[in-house]
């Protein structure tokens, strides 16, 4: 009772202050005649020069590209920083009706999996490719969480060019983590499952979790020149949940660290069952040693069944191949390859500082943030400071590897990134703030509220050797009153924070697409100069491409009709097609003959059971259509391409099945000036 009164006494002045602030802002909003509501929590930390810090004048470019995952939309969105302007949405695991990705014949194969066509996924973590431990701006790797997949986006085109399914994985959450020179991209399973060692999971009782469930960590080799992925091998690991990972750097360069939870191996009601142990584990794997063991014949092999889909550069067409086996290592057979470090209570984020010496583990249920020392870990391994073992994997003593703990950082620590100036920044989900602390003495030096409940935070390069310590982006899980209300479903919010000074300063709120879980950012000049403006028509190797109007034609083979068409401002060739019959499968292969920047043409046909397709200059894309009724069907260009875009249209005549109307096609009544023919050889 006594203490309660004391608490009230100390809290009273604060409460009074809060009320004063509230009254102040109420008065302010009254004086702003329109009465439009402000977000409940107006940023009192907002500095007066915030507007100029994020203002990118019309026609000027942003300083950085940022890539925010879309979470449950299966896409990546690209924002300019510091303006927070949305630049592009890149479809990865989801069909995208806007440009035909996953709908047209060329890109459908990207979404093939061993479960069939899966046109959606939950995309959590983007990771930029690396050279010497820093981002190099060539590719972006992303994970598909639900149907385990890893995808690669080419930053020359900002298009998804490769998707690989991950076998023996269930919930590819702990993914994808590139090593310092993209030697490997590493992907761990979130769910452990009873592997049948034949490429599937066994039909076992769920009671048997503890005995039969296992996890896997995949090592995907990356071609240093082209970026192509190849699953080199897996490590079969104890049946925990593998949450997140990050690679070492400098002294710890050979290592990758994984947070795990559910070391209790609970198979049901995990919110309780997986929260019993006081400590779970940080798993440390020496990937170089693993690769060495793999080479030295420690590998086992088992049957598998997984899809690998690649976009061919010349044909702009994706092709699937099915892989039939996978090689794996068992940690118990590979001494020195894997260790477990006890980490408090269901840890989430694992982040390694730019020097590579400190591993920061954010235990979302823990009251302190433990910071491990890589040097101490090396000593502990040397001195065998073990605390038993788990499935043949040595467990290191907590105290022997700990540098120290950040005390009372806030509630619900999730993720940490670094500014390269000796500071770490941790997101606090429960207390809804970002906390800045010093790596050397682990003392909290600043905190800033965010609106509301931040998940991941990101500093450009903040997970690499060379952070760009000027901005921090907080990706918040709850939006509530930050923007004009839009019904029950609200855009998630991101907040840009200036971290160049001693005190963090809130600069900007910007709404995001779906649910960003994590992001990457890179200085614009590492990416922008390589951006492709259009595809060269001469290099178009699509088998159905018409590289000039004279190559356009319509042919029938049985009940399949191929229309090889061209589009150029402002007409299709042909734009009159006859002789199609009900029940035919018609493929419109449309080649965009334009060789100029920013002149896409779209293509759509009335009644087609698919999306339009948007064709970039120099490319060929195919729309499939099965007409169901006789009649005349219009087709048209869907992208406002020119002053005569509205005229860019045509007709297809569909006759009854068995009709004797011959295949006929034309453009214009007489030969006209056709610019497409003009300069193409």
């Amino acid at each position: 009772m006594e203490t309660l009164i004391n608490k009230l006494k100390t809290a009273a002045p604060k409460a009074a202050l809060l009320m004063a602030i509230a009254a102040g802002s109420a008065l302010q909003s009254c004086s702003k005649s329109d009465g439009s509501g402000n977000g409940g929590a107006t940023a009192d930390a907002l500095s007066s020069d915030a507007a100029s810090a994020v203002y990118v004048a019309p026609g000027k470019h942003d300083e950085l590209y940022s890539f925010l995952s879309g979470g449950f939309n299966g896409q990546v969105s690209v924002y300019g920083i510091p303006s927070g302007r949305l630049l592009k949405i890149i479809p990865v695991f989801s069909q995208h009706a806007e440009n035909g990705y996953g709908y047209n014949e060329e890109t459908k194969a990207m979404l093939n999996t061993s479960h069939g066509f899966v046109p959606w996924d939950d995309l959590h973590h983007p990771k930029l490719s690396r050279a010497n431990g820093t981002t190099d701006g060539r590719w972006l790797f992303v994970n598909g969480n639900n149907t385990p997949r890893v995808a690669r986006i080419d930053l020359k085109t900002f298009e998804t060019v490769e998707i690989m399914e991950i076998p023996n994985s269930a919930g590819n959450h702990c993914s994808p983590y590139p090593t310092n020179n993209n030697e490997y991209v590493i992907a761990g399973t979130r769910f452990s499952v009873p592997l049948d060692m034949k490429g599937g999971t066994s039909d076992v009782s769920l009671e048997n979790y503890e005995k039969e469930f296992r996890g896997s960590i995949s090592f995907i080799k990356i071609d240093p020149k082209e970026g192509d992925m190849e699953l080199d091998f897996q490590i079969l690991v104890p049946g925990f949940d593998y949450d997140l990972a990050n690679g070492g750097k400098g002294p710890s360069e050979d290592w990758v660290f994984f947070t795990t939870y559910n070391s209790e191996k609970a198979g049901t009601l995990k919110e309780i069952g997986a929260s019993q142990n006081d400590k779970d584990y940080l798993a440390a794997i020496n990937w170089k040693l693993a690769a060495k063991y793999a080479k030295e014949g420690k590998l086992h092999e088992m049957p598998a069944n997984y899809y690998h889909n690649k976009m061919d550069k010349g044909t702009h067409t994706a092709k699937s191949t099915v892989k039939k086996n996978v090689r794996y290592l068992l940690p118990e057979e590979c001494p020195g390859m894997m260790y477990l470090l006890p980490a408090p209570k269901s840890p989430h984020g694992i982040d390694v500082d730019p020097s590579g010496e400190f591993m920061v583990v954010s235990g979302k249920l823990a009251s302190a943030i433990p910071v491990f020392s890589f040097a101490k870990m090396q000593d502990a391994i040397k001195n065998k400071a073990f605390d038993g073992e788990k499935n043949g994997i040595p467990v290191l003593k907590y105290e022997s590897v700990l540098k120290g703990e950040v005390k009372e950082p806030g509630l619900g620590p999730l993720h940490t990134e670094f500014d390269g100036k000796g500071n770490a920044y941790t997101s606090m989900f429960v207390s809804s703030e970002v906390v800045k602390w010093k790596l050397n003495d682990l003392k909290v030096v600043d905190r800033i509220p965010v609106y509301y409940s931040v998940g991941h935070l990101m500093i450009p390069g903040g997970d690499t050797k060379e952070p760009y310590g000027k901005y921090l982006v907080a990706m918040n899980k709850i939006t509530k009153d930050r923007y004009l209300p839009t019904g029950p479903e609200l855009a998630h919010a991101a907040q840009l924070i200036d971290i160049s000074g001693e005190k963090m300063k809130l600069l900007l709120d910007f709404p995001t697409v779906a649910e960003p879980h994590y992001a990457q950012a890179i200085v614009a000049n590492k990416v922008a100069p390589n951006s492709v403006k259009f595809h060269k028509l001469d290099e178009n190797k699509h088998p159905q491409a018409a590289r000039k109007e004279s190559e356009a034609n319509v042919t029938r083979k049985g009940n399949v009709v191929h229309a090889k068409m061209t589009s150029i401002r402002s007409h299709f060739t042909p734009d009159n097609i006859e002789g199609v019959q009900v029940g035919d499968t018609v493929y419109f292969h449309v080649t965009n003959l334009e060789q100029d920047w920013d002149v896409p043409h779209g293509f759509a046909v009335m009644g087609a059971n698919t999306s339009e397709t948007l064709i970039m200059p120099g490319a060929t894309q195919t729309l499939k259509w099965v007409p169901k009724k006789a009649g005349v069907y219009p087709m048209y260009c869907t992208d406002f391409c020119s002053a005569l875009h509205q005229e860019m249209q045509g007709y297809i005549r569909v006759s009854p099945k068995g009709s004797n109307v011959p295949i006929k096609f034309s453009t214009g009544k007489k030969k006209q000036n056709i610019p497409g023919v003009a300069s193409t050889k």
Binding site: K536, Q595, A678, S679
Partner: protein, 203 residues
């Protein structure tokens, strides 16, 4: 002609080589939709531009006003002009070797004539393209023609056209300049020599 004049004549002949290294003329187009600009480069033997597909892009824009598409193949000049230039270069060098001043003068005169004819021919093409418009053109502005400027700036609908000689033309200019110098200096030297020669009173 003395050795120095012969050297000037050789320089004059070789300057024409610039025509094979640089375009003669450049037409710059600027429009709101082309912040990066569009450039057509006219060479002695080809037509190119600021990007590989510039002709196609010019033609796409021009077809709305009914202008005939521009192809390098439709200009016979591009086929024979290089031979004329080479002929000038060879004869120029030969004249230097022979060392006849009057030949140098004639050569320079002919070159000036050829240059003027070239510019006139170019102007005729501009007029032809600018006025010979298809009656079926989607965009028809009564009374409007689209003759690009021969030299300088002109606004054509949403385009601002700028036409300027390029480095290749400098080759012709230098050839004429050095040709004149070779002729004139050699002439002056000869005159001085004549003046300095004692005159026989008997004549």
């Amino acid at each position: 002609m003395k050795a120095f004049h012969r050297v000037l004549m050789i320089i004059a002949a070789l300057s024409l080589g610039l025509l094979f290294l640089f375009p003669m003329w450049k037409i710059y187009l600027k429009a709101p939709q082309y912040p990066e600009g569009l450039e057509m480069h006219i060479w002695v033997n080809k037509i190119s531009g600021s990007s590989e597909s510039v002709l196609q892009n010019f033609n796409i824009l021009n077809h709305y006003i009914g202008m005939e598409p521009i192809h390098a193949e439709s200009f016979a000049e591009l086929k024979f002009m290089p031979y004329i230039v080479i002929a000038f270069m060879i004869t120029g060098v030969l004249i230097a070797l022979i060392g006849k001043r009057n030949l140098a003068g004639a050569w320079t005169g002919l070159l000036m004539g050829a240059g003027a004819a070239g510019i006139f021919d170019f102007y005729l093409w501009l007029v032809k393209f600018g006025t010979n418009l298809s009656p079926q053109a989607p965009i028809k502005v009564p009374g409007m023609t689209y003759i690009p400027p021969l030299l300088g700036r002109k606004t054509l609908l949403n385009f601002e056209a700028l036409s300027l000689p390029a480095l290749g033309s400098l080759g012709i200019f230098l050839a004429i300049l050095f040709g004149i110098l070779a002729f004139y200096l050699s002439y002056r030297t000869a005159k001085k020599k004549v003046a300095n020669t004692p005159v026989h009173s008997a004549a």
